[in-house]
């Protein structure tokens, strides 16, 4: 069908939203709450005029003969007022915020040229007693949840866009309370205890849900001359690191950037992946059991333990590649280099959020792509003329094919080839649920089952950066 946008005619597919047609044709419409697959239409910022009436563009389907105007006095007025209202409900502590410069609300305020704020902020920290008195019943409910190893939630920075509620595969989050008191929260506001896939962190437009880590400590370790900081690069992160810093568009440049912020050695995680594959092969060979669950997806392990504890004994016990590499580094490598293992700081750059929870004692930190981006920004590293470098020598990868395990099914395929066994692959939580349900009913009989919580595998992991 044909629709008119700003007096020009465009082709629209059946079922396509106005916003999709605009984007496909390079017409800019600002949005906040909408992400692919989920168009809530709650932020009311993607407003356009349709036949002279204001409407949202993200959740209104294009229909034959529609006449859409994306820029007009009313449209910009609607966007401005709604954005101002939203901003006043936001803490606005940009300078200290983890998401500074990577915040979609901040970007909108800049692109829509929001300068005058008419409303008294509701969430800003106030010390002045006079102000405090004036605004005593103006305060918003603020819920901070810091009770886990992987992520931090604070509703102070939340804009109630519902992205986290929508993307959560186990439906842990929802709205609590109503009207001006509405906050995103868990049932009974208990501390979050989920499978930590990290999709909520990835999709949060502001700093309301962020990665948890002691970045100050990491910065001190990086700067410490006595200590040797070692970075492990998970091949999956190369998919998204350019979203954080467009200049880092290759592996070589990523290695240079890591060295630039203070890492002395940078190794390929492929080394640990090969070790893990070998260990898995041995364990499967030894086991007489069927339906063994591969354990390289930490979220999947958590999922089984939480929702299907009867299958916890089927989970393999092989350590994660990062852990295996860290073990090697702190023992054999340290001996060879004649360095005290306590002076080694091993940090894994990963696309996984749940790994933070499953990390052992030799691996010091797991950081996500977003956190790397933040460290680079904080260190003010100049990336403009960054050169390519190679991995440090010492940990060789025998076969680059091992890196296919970052995609769903990769690990199972390799194992099946080696061991000549049957396997099943589950991609995403809905498939995982189906398979475990079948397993429960005894409808499945195979040797190994591989499952990845993030759809597509680690390449779409919760620790990846998102294109804004």
């Amino acid at each position: 069908m044909r629709i008119k946008i700003n007096t020009k005619e465009y082709e629209a597919k059946d079922g396509e939203m106005i916003l999709d047609v605009c984007r496909r044709n390079g017409i800019q419409v600002p949005t906040l709450c909408s992400i692919p697959k989920f168009h809530e239409g709650v932020c009311r910022i993607c407003m356009v005029e349709n036949g002279g009436r204001l409407t949202t563009s993200c959740n209104v389907k294009a229909s034959e003969g529609m006449e859409v105007v994306t820029e007009s006095e009313d449209v910009s007025k609607a966007r401005r007022i709604n954005l101002e209202l939203l901003w006043a409900d936001h803490a606005g502590k940009c300078s200290t915020c983890k998401k500074n410069q990577r915040c979609e609300l901040q970007n909108l305020a800049i692109s829509q040229k929001i300068e005058n704020f008419h409303f008294v902020p509701r969430k800003e920290e106030m010390t002045d007693s006079e102000n405090l008195d004036l605004l005593k019943d103006n305060r918003s409910r603020v819920v901070v949840d810091d009770g886990n190893a992987c992520l931090t939630r604070t509703t102070e920075l939340c804009v109630e866009c519902r992205r986290c509620i929508n993307v959560c595969p186990t439906k842990e989050l929802s709205f609590n309370h109503r009207a001006g008191d509405t906050v995103v929260g868990t049932a009974y506001e208990k501390s979050l205890d989920c499978i930590f896939c990290g999709q909520c962190v990835k999709n949060c437009p502001t700093g309301a849900i962020t990665d948890k880590n002691d970045l100050t400590k990491i910065m001190i370790d990086l700067a410490d001359l006595k200590k040797m900081a070692i970075a492990l690069i998970d091949p999956a992160v190369l998919e998204s690191v350019a979203f954080e810093h467009p200049e880092i568009d290759s592996r070589g440049k990523l290695i240079s950037a890591l060295k630039g912020i203070g890492f002395e050695k940078v190794f390929d995680l492929g080394f640990g992946m090969e070790l893990a594959l070998e260990n898995m092969t041995q364990e499967i060979k030894k086991s007489s059991k069927n339906n063994l669950l591969l354990n390289h997806c930490p979220s999947f392990n958590l999922f089984v333990k939480k929702y299907y504890p009867q299958f916890a004994k089927n989970i393999l016990t092989v350590a994660h590649p990062d852990e295996l590499t860290a073990d090697f580094l702190k023992t054999e490598f340290a001996k060879k280099e004649k360095i005290n293992s306590e002076d080694l700081v091993v940090i894994s750059l990963s696309s996984c959020v749940a790994k933070k929870k499953e990390k052992g004692k030799n691996l010091d930190y797991v950081i996500t792509v977003r956190e790397l981006g933040r460290i680079i920004r904080q260190k003010n590293l100049k990336l403009k003329d960054i050169k390519e470098s190679d991995f440090s020598s010492g940990l060789a990868v025998k076969d680059e094919k091992i890196k296919s395990i970052t995609r769903t099914g990769g690990m199972a395929e390799m194992l099946a080839k080696k061991l000549k066994v049957k396997y099943i692959v589950a991609d995403g939580v809905s498939q995982i649920k189906n398979i475990l349900r079948d397993l429960e009913k005894g409808r499945v009989e195979t040797k190994i089952i591989e499952a990845m919580v993030c759809e597509g595998g680690c390449v779409n992991g919760g620790g990846q950066a998102r294109k804004l």
Binding site: G41, V42, C43, R44, I45, M47, L54, N59, D74, K77, A78, I81, N82, E84, L85, L86, A88, D89, H118, F119, V120, R122, N138, E160, S174, F175, H177, R178, A179, G180, D181, T182
Partner: protein, 414 residues
């Protein structure tokens, strides 16, 4: 006064709401018998369409059209919902129906459910209406005993189960999609349309949602025919309506009057005129979300008309005299809306909060230039960009007050 036409209130005060036999004695369930033995769902729908009955909840959508679109749907599973989530401040017409004649309502529910082909109907009652929930429960039980409800109604091939569903008392759950969400066990907030509930409604099935007052009209229409009903009321909207007149009048109460009655008549003839020593200032028509009517517009007819300047809404009329402090009224409206907004979309969640905040400052006389500009902006965004009509409602009365009584409102401001 002319001889009153009574449709909904005809049995009020004459029967015990807890006794089905009382109701049957005065002709209750005769319409259902007529429907079952002498009519088909298609024929009955024709009568309703002929009657010109419009939804009494506020929007005034033709009931016949709504029922027809559900009846046409091919799905095996369909639902009928009677909306009794009355929570508009100053509105208590649906409650009065249950208090006085619950069986007329139940009869309407049964007939409408059978017309659309539903085998299960819900009566969604505001959770604060505990007494009414009990009355309705008892009515359902008694009807089941008489085989008016359940399997094979009155020996026919029709079956129906009616569930009295208690909401939690949220204003937004009066909106059909939010109401459906609430019954499904989700958070009570509106969904985007299309798809309309008539196609994809409760549990994804075609669903007709009707206001309780609309439902209560159905037995009369089936008994007496649509043509006769259409003859009552005005040219534009047929039938009678329950009006609730509150405020500075002598006899505040629920009155049944034909649609098209003048506002001045309602105040003077039905509610006994203004209280002694009080002078009329303005009237708010349609509950908290209604528009304000000044003295010069009192001659206006009250009817369902898309072009009407004063939408009838729920039919609640608040008469305000000159001794009332407008600031208190503003604050009470905004306290209501800022509490009842569901929190889903930005303009309503934040806008109603800000207006409430400013209303408090207005009362204290602390309003600043910045607030005056903010009021304008918020009212605009509420009426133009919100997800569901609640945002628009929140802006109507406040906006009318600001434009009509600017002097009085900003009088205190320094």
């Amino acid at each position: 006064m002319k001889k009153e036409t009574k449709i909904i209130t005809k049995n009020w005060g004459q029967i015990d709401p807890n006794e089905i036999d009382d109701s049957i004695e005065v002709g209750g369930y005769q319409a259902l018998e007529k429907f079952i033995h002498k009519m088909t769902p298609v024929l009955a729908l024709e009568e309703i369409k002929l009657s010109g009955l419009c939804g009494r909840g506020g929007a005034g959508f033709p009931t016949g059209m709504k029922l027809e679109s559900v009846q046409k749907e091919k799905s095996k599973e369909k639902y009928f919902i009677c909306n009794l989530d009355e929570s508009e401040p100053g509105t208590y017409k649906d409650r009065s129906i249950v208090d006085n004649d619950p069986h007329m309502l139940l009869e309407g529910v049964i007939i409408e459910s059978l017309i659309v082909g539903a085998r299960k109907a819900f009566v969604y009652v505001n959770g604060n209406y505990q007494r009414q929930i009990e009355i309705l429960q008892r009515a359902v039980e008694q009807a089941q005993e008489k085989r008016i409800l359940g399997e094979k109604i009155l020996g026919s091939r029709y079956s129906l189960e009616v569930e009295i569903f208690a909401g939690a008392g949220a204003y937004i759950c009066g909106e059909e999609t939010a109401l459906i969400n609430s019954i499904e066990g989700n958070r009570g907030e509106p969904k985007s349309r299309p798809p309309f509930p008539t196609q994809v409604g409760l549990f994804g099935k075609p669903t007709a949602v009707n206001n309780a007052e609309t439902v209560a009209n159905i037995p009369w229409i089936i008994s007496n025919g649509g043509k006769k009903y259409a003859a009552i009321g005005s040219k534009k909207s047929a039938g009678t309506k329950l009006f609730i007149v509150n405020g500075s009048v002598k006899n505040p109460d629920v009155f049944e009057a034909p649609l098209g009655t003048k506002l001045s008549d309602l105040i003077e003839k039905y509610a006994g005129g203004m209280q002694k020593g009080k002078n009329f200032w303005f009237a708010q028509v349609g509950g908290s979300s209604g528009r304000l009517v000044l003295e010069k517009d009192l001659v206006r007819k009250l009817e369902y008309d898309r072009e009407a300047k004063v939408p009838l809404g729920s039919g609640a009329i608040l008469v305000v005299d000159k001794t009332v402090d407008i600031h208190e009224l503003l604050l009470s409206w905004m306290s209501f809306f800022h509490r009842e907004s569901c929190g889903k979309c930005v303009p309503c969640r934040e806008g109603t909060f800000r207006l409430w905040e400013i209303a408090k400052r207005l009362q204290d006389g602390q309003v600043s230039e910045r607030d005056v500009a903010a009021i304008k902006d918020i009212l605009w965004t509420l009426s133009n960009t919100t997800f569901c009509p609640l945002g628009k409602f929140a802006a109507t009365a406040f906006g009318d007050a600001i434009s009509n009584f600017q002097k009085e409102i900003y009088k205190l401001s320094r």
